[in-house]
């Protein structure tokens, strides 16, 4: 028999992505076993995040400060905005450490099947932002899916009148990818967007 409080903890843990009832039980047991080292600090951290988390008014990033740390950073280039779908995409790009401009999170993509239209996304906010500050380049870092690219084309259409360079991420062979194991779609896209080899050197 498990007490109702522990059972409640297990049920909540089981709802976390990647976990289920079995792994929820394992995680709960592990937390209880390491009460001082894990359970209490975790509870404190969650409480602190709950009290201070907010969505950045400028880019839509999640942070405990508003504007977020990325938007506050004075070393970042204000003239380049990278448009992403979700906060997770911003975090993925930040992990690379290659991009030093600003971000704009749309909050999803246009989807005919799920009934998500332009008014459900932060596209208008992006357009206003482009007109408000001196942006020179917009990088559309959206997923290489039908929805992602439909959204990219829609944004491009909306920004047609703004004097700004619009670029998109390349599609093709991933680092370490072997041609023999790539799917036909990736291969044909990579072939279609091939570049002059001399440009790379």
């Amino acid at each position: 028999m498990i007490g109702s409080e522990i059972n409640e903890l297990i049920q909540y843990l089981a709802k976390i992505p990647g976990l289920g009832p079995r792994s929820g039980r394992r995680a709960a047991l592990h937390l209880i076993k390491h009460k001082d080292r894990l359970l209490k600090p975790l509870a404190d951290a969650m409480l602190k995040v709950d009290e201070s988390i907010r969505s950045c008014v400028q880019c839509g990033n999640l942070d405990t400060q508003d504007p977020c740390l990325v938007c506050q950073d004075p070393r970042r280039d204000n003239t380049i905005i990278c448009v992403v779908e979700q906060v997770a995409d911003l975090w993925a790009l930040e992990r690379t450490g290659c991009f030093h401009g600003r971000y704009h999170i749309l909050g999803g993509t246009l989807s005919a099947i799920d009934g998500i239209g332009p008014e459900d996304l932060k596209i208008q906010g992006l357009i206003e932002r482009v007109h408000r500050i001196q942006v020179q380049e917009i990088i559309l870092a959206l997923n290489a899916t039908v929805e992602g690219q439909t959204t990219a084309h829609y944004i491009m259409e909306r920004l047609k009148l703004a004097e700004v360079k619009i670029t998109a991420l390349a599609h093709g062979v991933p680092v370490g990818g072997e041609l023999d194991y790539l799917d036909d779609g990736t291969l044909s896209t990579a072939l279609a967007s091939r570049r002059s080899f001399s440009e790379t050197s």
Partner: protein, 236 residues
């Protein structure tokens, strides 16, 4: 139950973390859904428009069942840089998903849709798209009668469609009430005719009128947003 068929992915909705409910338009089993275990490998396969070999397994035919899918062609890969073709793909898939009944074979519509997917990779796909929607109307039981003029009976110079009956009307027969009739673009009758942006827009207006009136409005549904954007995005 276990059957094999070929099909086209119409939609894929996440079901929990590791599964997706995938709806296909199959050749012999019509619009059919099933569950599939998702992974990084299935991401490309589950893009709408992907042409697949499908194996469906379920205990009873009414059950959701499981798919085993093998990609034959990932259509969208060649369309990602072409906004109008991408919109046409989304519009076609969402329309079929919206209006076609479950488990009812429509081999003619299937072939027209497959033909459209092939044509989308080429510059001139507009004619195939309108023909596909006309075929969809016919398969739903609301086919247009383009054989002769409803007023005079002549078979040539057909210029309009009656919004009430869906029958063609010739220039002569419709001259007195042309503004109340829907223009019939020439490429629908004459398959060799060139398709101008105006013709394409008129074709889309024609099919959307009948689709809305007979297939969508009676069940209180709206035209898919991709289809709306497709007609709005044509610069004439």
């Amino acid at each position: 139950m276990d059957w094999m068929d070929t099909g086209i992915v119409l939609s894929a909705r996440a079901h929990g973390e590791s599964y997706a409910i995938v709806t296909l338009l199959t050749e012999h089993h019509g619009r059919h859904a099933g569950l599939i275990r998702t992974s990084k490998k299935t991401a490309a396969l589950l893009q709408i428009g992907t042409y697949v070999r499908a194996d469906w397994r379920g205990r009873l035919s009414e059950h959701l069942g499981f798919w085993t899918l093998e990609p034959l062609k990932i259509t969208c890969a060649n369309l990602l840089d072409r906004p109008q073709a991408l919109l046409a793909l989304s519009a076609g898939c969402s329309l079929i998903d919206l209006v076609l009944p479950d488990h009812e074979a429509h081999p003619l519509l299937y072939r027209k849709f497959l033909n459209l997917l092939e044509k989308l990779e080429k510059p001139a796909w507009q004619k195939s798209y309108v023909i596909f929607e006309i075929c969809m109307l016919r398969e739903l039981g609301f086919g247009l009668d383009l054989s002769r003029c409803a007023a005079t009976g002549v078979t040539d110079n057909l210029m309009y469609i009656s919004p009430k009956t869906g029958r063609a009307v010739s220039q002569e027969g419709g001259k007195d009430y042309a503004e109340r009739l829907l223009p019939l673009p020439s490429f629908i009758i004459d398959l060799e005719a060139e398709v101008t942006p105006q013709d394409f827009k008129a074709g889309l207006r024609l099919t959307s009128y009948f689709l809305e009136r007979y297939a969508l409005e009676p069940s209180n549904r709206k035209m898919p947003s991709a289809r709306v954007r497709l007609s709005e995005g044509i610069s004439t």
